[in-house]
């Protein structure tokens, strides 16, 4: 035990930490908060920004505390005159090449650079000078890049290259001209970006943000002719509260619904109901394929970043993808058909808004396949963050709002749908329904712990109706790539594969509240938000999608049965090989 401990002194405090701990971690354990900027635990540990420099006795030059490991007997000083001056100069230099329009910046109040400037009490810029100038790239439906605010921490690059193994962005040019860019400096919209938004989650400043579309929602909400319907994804309720200072993982479903109603939406529905439809369709699709041993493994298709990724990188595996649309698309299609008919509303007047933890959904909703009778299933996708901004704009004191419930007739959802928002959740929900279909019984065993948890790849063999079913749930595109390679090379014999583009699933989506590097190193944000969803599931009276009475009703009244012609027309889609790069000729 003692062998694995290292004793060192930091600012006069004796600290015992595990071998292999970085100086930064050791200091934080001792209650000393060394500032960092480029550091993002496990993702970007490069030591570029130089904010975390400290003095180590006997060592030439400063040590990079975010990377360098503790050594027995090390004596560290985090706050000598030399260190503080150097750190201050470095921050000054960063600020000297940063557009400081903080008051009108989307990240104001949640900006790591702003926080550092406050922490180090920067009151003026001592070394101003020429600033690099970049054009803003807002062609992508999901991501806006404003590199005039970029501090070259490269957290986005690591998120894209290491975590997602997409590599749409990297550093180009050298020295002062260095900047983050794409191949050939094309718009993110024209390169191999999957729109997952993990870069936004990684960005400490306002350099990367979602393409905000809330103004369009406001216009429609004020338009007396528009019938504005909103639906909210499962993961939104587990994170929205954070934007109002509530603890991570607080379930704010009731307050969220009240807020949406107060914002003036005509109907507030639950994407979870859509998720139940997805399960119905997908479980039936799986059962059919499983029986026929046709195009196995079947791979889930509800993560639009993932779908774009496979279209670009593994077109040969597209037949494995479930043809099911994602829950909010299914739900949007049903709102504009079943609901419109039932309520006698002109579908042309319905403006369908989805509140999503995801920015790839902004891309997904405008895909040509996501239309029915000339109308988009969904007209606008806003993120959890954007909804929070709307609530603030509407002068609502979120924490004080009463709880209320989703509107009928499409407001009932199961526990199975709630867990859609976390990795393994879609798999578990589908298995619950599939096993009942396959056995023809109502089984009590509904928890599939093997596919829960934060691991990037979770493999399991489950027994359904006496048959072994090999399943795997992977989240994060680097992990997805591993699974695809296994399938492609014939090294795996999975029958069912769940993929979510974002590491940890939708709870960690690109549209969720952004957590600072420090919070991300200290708290398991994913687990807290996922637990919120699992507890919703646990408390639900109905926990299997096929038992949802609303589904039964809609199938009976309108869709007939899963996989029917109408179900296919509204709830299923198709995929195409997609070029990674769309370079226009000059």
């Amino acid at each position: 035990m003692e062998e694995n401990l290292v004793t060192l002194t930091i600012d006069g405090i004796e600290v015992k930490v595990k071998k292999g701990t970085t100086i930064l971690e050791a200091a934080r354990q001792a209650g000393i908060d060394i500032p960092t900027l480029c550091f993002l635990k496990d993702i970007n540990e490069v030591g570029d920004c130089r904010m975390c420099i400290v003095e180590v006795e006997g060592r030439r030059g400063f040590a990079t505390s975010c990377i360098q490991k503790v050594e027995e007997g090390m004596v560290v000083h985090t706050n000598t005159a030399d260190v503080t001056e150097a750190r201050r100069v470095v921050l000054d230099l960063i600020l000297s090449n940063h557009v400081k329009d903080c008051l009108t910046c989307t990240r104001s109040g949640n900006c790591e650079l702003q926080a550092l400037a406050q922490k180090l009490n920067v009151l003026n810029i001592e070394f101003p000078g020429e600033m690099t100038k970049h054009e803003i790239d807002d062609l992508s439906p999901s991501i806006v890049r404003d590199f005039n605010k970029c501090i070259l921490c490269r957290r986005c690059i690591s998120a894209c290259k290491k975590v997602q193994k997409v590599g749409a962005i990297d550093c180009i040019n050298r020295g002062f001209e260095s900047c983050v860019s794409t191949v050939g400096n094309y718009s993110l919209n024209d390169v191999n970006c999957t729109n997952c938004g993990q870069c936004i989650q990684a960005c400490p400043t306002g350099s990367l943000h979602e393409k905000e579309t809330i103004d369009d929602v406001w216009v429609k909400l004020k338009d007396p002719d528009a019938y504005v319907v909103v639906q909210t994804a499962p993961a939104v309720r587990a994170a929205l509260g954070e934007e109002f200072g509530m603890p991570i993982g607080t379930n704010v479903t009731g307050k969220m619904i009240t807020a949406l109603k107060r914002l003036g939406f005509n109907k507030v529905f639950d994407t979870n109901t859509g998720a139940d439809f997805t399960i119905m369709e997908e479980a039936h699709e799986f059962v059919e394929r499983f029986k026929e041993n046709d195009n196995l493994p079947m791979i889930t298709s509800c993560s639009p970043g993932w779908v774009k990724y496979i279209e670009m990188n593994y077109p040969e595996l597209l037949p494995h993808l479930s043809t099911c649309k994602s829950p909010h698309q299914m739900f949007g299609a049903l709102v504009k058909t079943y609901f419109a008919k039932k309520e006698e509303i002109d579908p042309n007047k319905i403006y369908m808004v989805s509140v999503m933890p995801c920015i790839a959904k902004k891309f997904e909703r405008q895909r040509a396949e996501m239309k029915n009778d000339g109308l988009y299933d969904v007209d606008n996708v806003i993120t959890t963050r954007e909804l929070a901004r709307m609530i603030k704009q509407a002068n609502l004191d979120f924490e004080k709002l009463e709880d209320s419930s989703f509107d009928n007739p499409m407001g009932e959802a199961t526990g199975a749908a709630a867990i859609f928002g976390t990795t393994g959740g879609v798999m578990e929900a589908a298995l619950r329904t599939a096993q009942d279909i396959l056995t023809g019984k109502t089984l009590d065993k509904i928890d599939f712990e093997q596919v829960r948890g934060g691991d990037g790849i979770k493999r399991a063999t489950v027994n359904i109706a006496g048959k072994e079913v090999k399943v795997v749930a992977a989240s994060g595109l680097a992990n997805a790539q591993k699974i695809m390679e296994e399938i492609k090379n014939g090294e795996a014999d999975y029958q069912f594969v769940e993929i979510m583009a974002c590491p940890g699933g939708c709870v960690m989506g690109g549209g969720q509240p952004i957590k600072s590097s420090k919070i991300r190193s200290e708290v398991d944000v994913r687990a807290l938000r996922a637990n919120c969803l699992y507890s919703i599931d646990e408390k639900s009276t109905i926990r299997k999608s096929h038992e949802n009475p609303i589904l039964k009703q809609i199938y009976a009244e309108y869709l007939e049965e899963p996989g029917s012609y109408r179900a296919h027309k509204l709830l299923h889609t198709h995929y195409n090989e997609r070029p990674k790069y769309n370079f226009k000729e000059n």
Binding site: V46, G47, D48, C49, R50, I53, G61, F62, T64, I67, Q68, D82, E85, A86, R87, V89, V90, L93, I94, S96, N97, E126, F127, G129, E130, I151, L152, D170, C171, N173, R174, G175, F176, E177, S178
Partner: protein, 618 residues
Amino acid sequence: MKTIEEIKEIRKNKREELDLRVNTKADTREKHILVCHGTGCTSSKSPRILENFKKIIKEKNIENVRVIMTGCFGLCAKGPIVIIRPEDTFYSNVTPADCEEIIQTHIIEGNRVERLLCKDIDGSLVNRLDELNFYKKQKRIALKNCGVINPEDIDEYIAFDGYKAIEKVLKEMTPDQVVDELKKSGLRGRGGAGFPTGKKWEITKGYEADQKYVVCNADEGDPGAFMDRSILEGDPHSVLESMMIAGYTIGANKGYIYVRAEYPIAVKRLQKAIEQARDYGILGKNIFGTDFEFDIEIRLGAGAFVCGEETALLESIEGKRGQPRIKPPFPAESGLWGKPTLINNVETYANITRIILNGSEWYSSIGTENSKGTKVFALGGNVNNIGLVEVPMGTTLREIVFDIGGGIPNGREFKAAQTGGPSGGCIPAEHLDTPIDYESLKEIGSMMGSGGLIVMDNTKCMVSLAKFYLEFTVSESCGKCTPCRIGTKRMLEILEKLCSGQGTENDIYRLEKLAVNIQKASVCGLGQSAPNPVLSTLKYFRDEFKEHAIDKRCRTNECKSLAKIQIDPEKCKGCGLCQKHCPVNAIEGEAREKRVINPDKCIKCGTCLTNCPFHAIN
């Protein structure tokens, strides 16, 4: 494939054949015409000189004369250089057209071509190479074979004890003994930082791994430096041999030479050398009949200065963007592809074979207490003998500049010498007697660096000089860490302000503050040393900075914006020529009246100055 006996045979026979190269009293009727094919001479058409000689010899059917290409002789200012051996006659500034006369007069008639003989600084004719003052205080160890052998002929290398050191190491020494010998020799890294080489080898040897690498850093990037280039071009096999010794010592079977693509001749000769060594079975498996195997590959750099920094170099070999890594871990522990890697620069390697063959005692007898051996410098700037020099450590700057370098041209005064390129500093006249070694240079605010040595006379503005080096670092910063990426740019901006007369005294303070902090906070050697040219000029020439900032004056007039052009009313005769020639109509005054320059309009082009017949404008 050659057996060890066959190689010994080549060594013996070839050595006899080439005795005249190093022995002026050699008893032979043969003559060797050596034509320098170093960088400078090559670009002044020495390959055509070589061809011409060959053609004439063939045409005239002359026997017993051979024409040989060699590496650099060092005195580049006098190039193209032709040496005739054994008598060692030194012809300078030879053109292809001179070949005929040299053959006729020297070879056929046995007389020297007086007009082509090299002249020393005092104007005296130099008969033999070793009579030149330029060579008198030099000691050639790393450059031993440069100018002696044909670098493209492995047999000539073998003749001069080539591949004898690796043979000795493989047959007679354990890796520990090699390390021990190197440690005792006192050799330190010649790339600039001066880390003890034996210790580095020992540390790398100490790490257990399934694969280790030996890397040669040939990414010489300092402006004006061509030490490593000359070694590679003049004696490529010595680098290969030393890398093999390194491989044997640390337990590596693979070596990489990372060389700039801007060194095409060096690359070509290295490539040839590797092929020849493979042909002879010197590189490959079962070298000299032992279990030892070693092979070397060349990797070309794409011209980034920072790739001379060892970890950036490793990144580049791995195919990544050339950016430094944070140290520790050092390459000895985790280098190429995470494996223990030994990196030395070209000149360091060039010393190894000599140490192995002549012993550490011999080597450590040269130099100072803590800096042993010799150092090669590329001597340039305002000095008469521009070229490549190798001197024992401890030689003073004065000896290099005045004895070897022949002093400052045009009767001007020595102002400063810059060592270490953009990472180094300026040494003013008061430190001319500083002995050149790692510690002494550091003490006076400069550094050994890789060996660039630029001499400046009193027409050079020190603020402009600092600006020049900062321009270099700004364009060569890789952009990884903040202090170097933005900080060097800000320093340059301040220097530009000072040079254009926009600066204030506070700017000098800000410049210094930036410099100190960039030095401390940058990730790699490039950023950490980028402020050195500023800090050392500030240290020794602060008055010049102040003049720029406060008096808006540049004493050398190098800073054009600060130059003030005035017409001396005493001398002006009112001829109006200045007015007529001024391109911007900045000169005012009526016909036959004294003229005045309107400073608001004047662009300081100097046209009026050259056109005034009465020297009234200054």
